[in-house]
Amino acid sequence: MKKFFRRNAPAYVFLSPWFVGFFLLALGPILASMYLSFTRYDMVGDPRWVGLDNYEYMFERDRRFWKALEVTFTYVALAVPARLAMALGVAMLLDKGLRTIGLYRAIFYLPSLLGSSIAIAILWRQLFSVDGVVNQVLAKFGIEGAAWISDPNTSLYTLVILAMWQFGSPMLIFLAGLRGIPRDLYEAAEIDGTSKRRQFFRITLPLLAPVIFFNLVLQTIEAFKTFSSAFIISNGTGAPADSLLFYTVYLFNEAFKFFRMGYASALAWVLLLIIGFFTAVTFFTSKYWVHYENERD
């Protein structure tokens, strides 16, 4: 035991800031929120134990909970593939060996740095407003644009487009993955007369599978947690007609607008379970479609 600590002491010293942060700042709130999810708590009085009431209400009587789930699931289902496709497409363009690749990489990454900021969400609201830039451009072509954000039928798609625009970090990871595929494989395929399309589906995609998997897991988690852009664009309400009522926006409102901390905690735990479930499913299916070169047999 003594030997174990002596040998690993440097590791623990370096890990200590994380331990301090986790135990003091994270573990407490995690356990507290679990407890609070079984209580009624308005931050004024003491929490009152209500058992499974919050969960029962959520699943059986709360229609806005189901609406929030619908909005979030739709968003995840559209935004994740769209962002990954965009990221892969741009990564493949950049992989062509441009001399100024560093510059382009930085330029393309910029929206991702700005993307989560409040300013960009506000800008987005301006772009897609009735007299915004998008409609002005469309008008030049004689097309009458819609009220993108205030129309419940289109509002969610403006956020999907915003998500697509923020392809920077998966793009960088894809680019690194593409760089890792030996050129020889494409040259061998070239000599064999393999079309570019077949090269993409039979060589690039299978060899990129570990990276696609990594990006898929990360982006799915990210998409479920989307908050600030939805909050800003819907003015914090999920409007119009709850079409932007993202799960996190609903949770935030329950907690900090209506001070239903117990119920909000229960919502947070359900979101955690949902994210955990989808991550587990992705991991489970990965053995059928992800190929690792150095896999043990």
Binding site: E187, A189, E190, I191, D192, P206, H291
Partner: protein, 363 residues
């Protein structure tokens, strides 16, 4: 099978020319080896023939058809890469079949060709394995299999054995030679290893800095190197080189070198002054030869069937002798040896061979 004609071929990257004015005829059905030190342009030349690199000047013709603008897939050739270039996510069978599936071939024909290649290369039991489950030699066989299933007119090999260990390299060399004998297809083979070149080639092209130094059979290159570079590059152990001065006499030249007593080489046709004389290590005979010299052994390399003796001449120059492995030698021992003047290769101050009158002129 196909012959190739390269005329005035050049390659430059931006303003930097790496190859220019290269002419070469590759005969139908021959095993041509491109050899030279790193950076000499041999792989670039092979890739230009394959269609993986564009040529910036001249023409490349396969069977009299100029292929400059023809994509790699239309040149009816196969290439084996140094890295094997096997698709890691596909089984050996799928690797072999992948190229054939582009050729709009029936499934039965694909299966027949894959099985036939597997039989020829003795990899039948490996067909369901993934590349990561194969040894280096097995991977190399699969890579060759992928080339032969297409039944191309021309095979290109880009240093295919350089990732293998020494023993396996010798074995694969023999297998490749017998495959060539069986198929009889034109093969162009790139290597930096002159032993590989000498043992496998019908003809060798020695390249340096993007130009051809000499083209010839292995024997021609060994016995009549066109210049100092080829003399030094071809042959292992390496040829001995000595600076000397020469003067013309009636039927040859008179040579003075600090290492040896003066001697005359008969039958040399040119007038020369400063020369380099070269003698192969096996042409130095212990206790024999008409020009004799003594030296002190500084290193003994025992190789079993033969011994390499590194010795120091009275002039201070070192010399390498190759002798049979029967005697025992020790460091510090004095030896006397000699050579015949007909075994001396003479090169002028430009490094070009001074040919004997009976020799043909070399390119």
């Amino acid at each position: 099978m196909a012959g190739l004609t390269l005329r005035d071929v050049g390659k430059s990257y931006g303003g930097l020319s790496v190859m220019s004015g290269l002419d070469l005829d590759i005969y139908d059905g021959e095993f041509l080896v491109l050899v030279g030190p790193s950076g000499c342009g041999k792989s670039t030349l092979l890739r230009m023939i394959a269609g993986l690199e564009e040529i910036t000047d001249g023409t490349i013709a396969i069977e009299d058809t100029i292929v400059n603008d023809l994509p790699a897939s239309k040149r009816e050739l196969s290439m084996v890469f140094q890295s094997y270039a096997l698709y890691p996510h596909m089984s050996v069978r799928k690797n072999l079949a992948f190229g054939l599936q582009n050729m709009k071939m029936t499934k039965a024909e694909v299966a027949r060709r894959v099985d036939e290649a597997a039989r020829v290369l003795q990899i039948e039991e490996l067909l369901e394995r993934k590349p990561r489950q194969l040894s280096g030699g097995q991977k190399q066989r699969v890579a060759i299999g992928r080339a032969i299933v297409r039944e191309p007119k021309l095979f290109l090999f880009d240093e295919p054995l350089s990732n293998l260990d020494a023993e396996l390299r010798v074995q694969m060399r023999v297998e490749l030679a017998s495959l060539y004998a069986k198929l009889g297809t034109t093969m162009i083979y790139v290597t930096h290893d002159q032993v590989e070149a000498m043992t496998m080639a019908s003809r060798i092209v020695v390249l340096r800095k993007g130009t051809i130094e000499q083209v010839g059979t292995p024997q021609e290159l060994y016995t009549r190197p066109a210049n100092l570079f080829v003399a030094g590059f071809i042959g292992s152990p390496k040829i001995n080189m000595f600076k000397a001065t020469a003067s013309k006499i009636a039927d040859g030249i008179h040579i003075s070198a600090p290492e040896f007593e003066d001697f005359e080489v008969r039958g040399l046709e040119r007038t020369v002054d400063d020369v380099t004389i070269c003698i192969r290590p096996e042409a130095l005979v212990l206790g024999g030869g008409s020009i004799q010299v003594t030296a002190e052994i500084i290193l003994v390399e025992y190789l079993g069937s033969e011994i390499l003796l590194h010795a120091k001449l009275p002039s201070g120059a070192t010399v390498l002798l190759q002798t049979s492995g029967k005697e025992e030698y020790a460091r510090g021992q004095n030896i006397s040896f000699g050579f015949e003047t007909s075994d001396v290769h003479v090169f002028d101050h430009n490094g070009d061979r001074v040919a004997f009158t009976h020799e043909e002129a070399f390119a």
